[in-house]
């Protein structure tokens, strides 16, 4: 794991009026790892993801993707550089069927809409790619079901499939298990596990079991700052992290 980081931030800060949502965060993601971001509500995790995907500009600091700053680029340009993201809220095209959802994602990656008018081969590549990601996400049997008619868990899986279809070099997943039942959570955890050898992932998640099972490294955020960052074992053993998660009372009691 001595490679160049695929993504790095330096002193990344974002203010909303008087509130500092993200405060001087230095953080890096190495190729091939699953990097989880943990933290209590309001710690600035989602803001951090939004900064990484370019959806909001930083107040200070910079984000480097493959060593190049993403500053000033549009969401669309950053997406096409290879950062794929899923949102905390289910974010799919409800009237389109499962396959079409993935085809839309695959098509832009494989050269866009107008290119595929010219070439039958590209059209085939697109649907092959879409089917492939549906298979990865165990949704092939739903290929022709409108996304709106699927269960919540399936919609979340579809969202991951769509990110996969754009063949990103880095995936940002914002609470992929949010609002899921136990069984579905296990299913998605297994799905993400199956991706580990092929993709680099930044994962925001509340479900501790899943995080400890999946992550290679964990960054813990509190009040917009990085509390601790390191390999999963280190975080699991960390006193500081335990204090934050068990609450202030525990801190006072042990002090």
């Amino acid at each position: 794991m001595r490679q160049e980081p695929i993504l790095a931030t330096h002193g990344l800060t974002r203010r909303f009026g008087g509130l500092v949502a993200v405060n001087g965060v230095d953080f890096d993601v190495r190729p091939g790892e699953i990097h989880a971001i943990l933290g209590p509500n309001g710690a600035g995790k989602s803001t951090l993801i939004n900064l990484l995907s370019g959806e909001i500009p930083p107040s200070e600091g910079e984000v480097l993707f493959h060593g190049k700053p993403i500053q000033g680029k549009s969401v669309r340009q950053i997406a096409r550089m290879g950062i794929g993201r899923s949102h905390q809220k289910t974010n799919i095209f409800p009237r389109l069927d499962c396959l079409q959802n993935c085809e839309l994602a695959a098509r832009i990656h494989l050269g866009g809409v107008f290119g595929s008018w010219r070439s039958r081969q590209r059209a085939r590549q697109v649907s092959e790619r879409a089917l492939e990601v549906l298979e990865t996400c165990h949704l092939v049997h739903r290929a022709h079901t409108p996304a709106a008619d699927m269960s919540y868990g399936e919609q979340r899986q579809l969202q991951i499939a769509m990110v996969l279809a754009t063949a990103p070099t880095l995936m940002l997943l914002d609470e992929p298990m949010a609002g899921m039942g136990r069984e579905e959570t296990v299913q998605v955890t297994e799905l993400l596990e199956s991706l580990t050898d092929r993709y680099t992932l930044v994962l925001i998640e509340h479900d501790m079991d899943s995080v400890f099972r999946l992550a290679d490294r964990i960054t813990v955020m509190v009040d917009g700052c990085v509390l601790e960052s390191g390999p999963t074992e280190q975080i699991r053993a960390s006193e500081k992290v335990r204090d934050v998660y068990l609450g202030r009372h525990h801190e006072e009691a042990t002090a």
């Binding site: 997406a79 008018w117 290929a143």
Partner: protein, 351 residues
């Protein structure tokens, strides 16, 4: 799947098309002297259907509610009126491309300025551009001011010396308009089912997600805006051919509002719905106008009732009739599509 409808839709539409198309056969028997007048009305409905369909691409498909679509309708009419020679008939061979070109350029310019806005701001900016052209034309001496411009000779369609279609003949002109409507419908149906149409559906559902996938959504919306503008201009040109003049009223917001009501009545986002909407609106208008001078009240109540009772318009009534709504879903679905997919045979290209 989206933009694919039960067979009954195609059957009903083809039957209606056949009934309308053979009007010259049954019209005189049923209406006698009134027949010519009704043929004229029908021609107008066909033209308005094309106009309403073009707006559906924006409102129903992309989700951009335009209140200035009459701008392009009127532009088509005025291009014909102003470009026609004074003492001779123009040829459709160059008039039609000219109308399309003028509309495309205008839609590109207007589109570049309005496409960045959303929701109420899009409505307001399109309205503003429509009204700008309305006041420009109705005060311009070269365009005849509020009187408009007369078109002395209807354009002709000839090949060499022989006349291909005698457009001065009301029946021939009716069939010509009907042909344009069918062509426009087939084009839009193809477009909405194409990859490009899929992107428009994506924008309609969730534009931000499309951007996060990497789509430059503005460009796609602009292309849709230009296509809608060009189709509306063709309808406007046909209307001017029909009336024999171009009038500022054709590009005012009132016309934009009327065509929007046709959409609501017919069912947005279906392409075939607006055709039904245009016919229904015109028939209602004709009936109400004869009942009372206060017909707008009746029309308003009808539109309100339609929105309440038929949220998806007449099209919704055909796609999912009340008596078929309780049927199990599987009946409507194309059978066994999933069976044709063999993901196992797909070569693995990852990594």
């Amino acid at each position: 799947m989206l933009h694919r409808y039960p067979k009954r839709v195609a059957v009903i539409m083809l039957v209606l098309l056949a009934i309308v198309a053979i009007f010259p056969l049954w019209g005189p028997a049923l209406f006698g002297d009134q027949s010519d007048f009704i043929l004229e009305k029908l021609t107008l409905m066909v033209i308005l259907a094309l106009f309403a369909m073009s707006l559906d691409l924006l409102v129903g498909i992309v989700g951009l509610v335009s209140l200035g679509h009459a701008l392009f309708f009127g532009l088509g009419a005025y291009t014909l009126a102003l470009a026609s020679p004074d003492f001779d008939a123009a040829s459709l061979w160059w008039m039609l491309p000219l109308v399309m070109l003028v509309a495309a350029v205008a839609a590109l310019v207007v589109g570049l300025l309005v496409i960045r806005t959303k929701g109420i701001f899009f409505i307001m900016t399109t309205l503003a551009f429509g009204q700008m052209l309305f006041y420009l034309i109705s005060t311009a001496p070269f365009a005849g001011g509020t009187d408009g411009v007369f078109i002395m000779f209807r354009p002709t369609l000839t090949a060499g010396e022989t006349m291909l279609l005698d457009l001065d003949n009301p029946q021939t002109f009716f069939y010509f308009c009907l042909g344009m409507l069918v062509a426009g419908f087939l084009f839009l149906r193809w477009l909405t089912r194409s990859y490009f149409g899929q992107v428009l559906d994506g924008i309609h559902d969730n534009e931000r997600r499309m951007q996060a996938l990497g789509y430059a959504t503005g460009g796609y919306k602009l292309v849709a805006f230009v296509i809608a503008g060009v189709l509306a201009a063709i309808a406007g040109m046909l209307a001017a051919m029909q009336y024999g003049f171009a009038n500022p009223a054709q590009l005012g917001w009132h016309t934009s509002g009327e065509v929007l009501m046709m959409l609501i009545l017919g069912g947005m986002g279906t392409i075939f719905g607006p055709i039904l909407g245009a016919f229904a609106y015109e028939i209602l208008l004709y009936v109400y106008e004869h009942l009372t001078v206060h017909w707008p009240i009746l029309m308003g109540l009808t539109i309100i009732a339609a929105v309440l009772v038929l949220p998806r318009g007449i099209a919704g009534l055909i796609i999912a009739p009340p008596w078929a709504r309780r049927k199990p879903k599987a009946v409507e679905e194309e059978e066994g599509v999933a069976a044709h997919l063999h993901p196992a045979t797909i070569p693995h290209k990852e990594g």
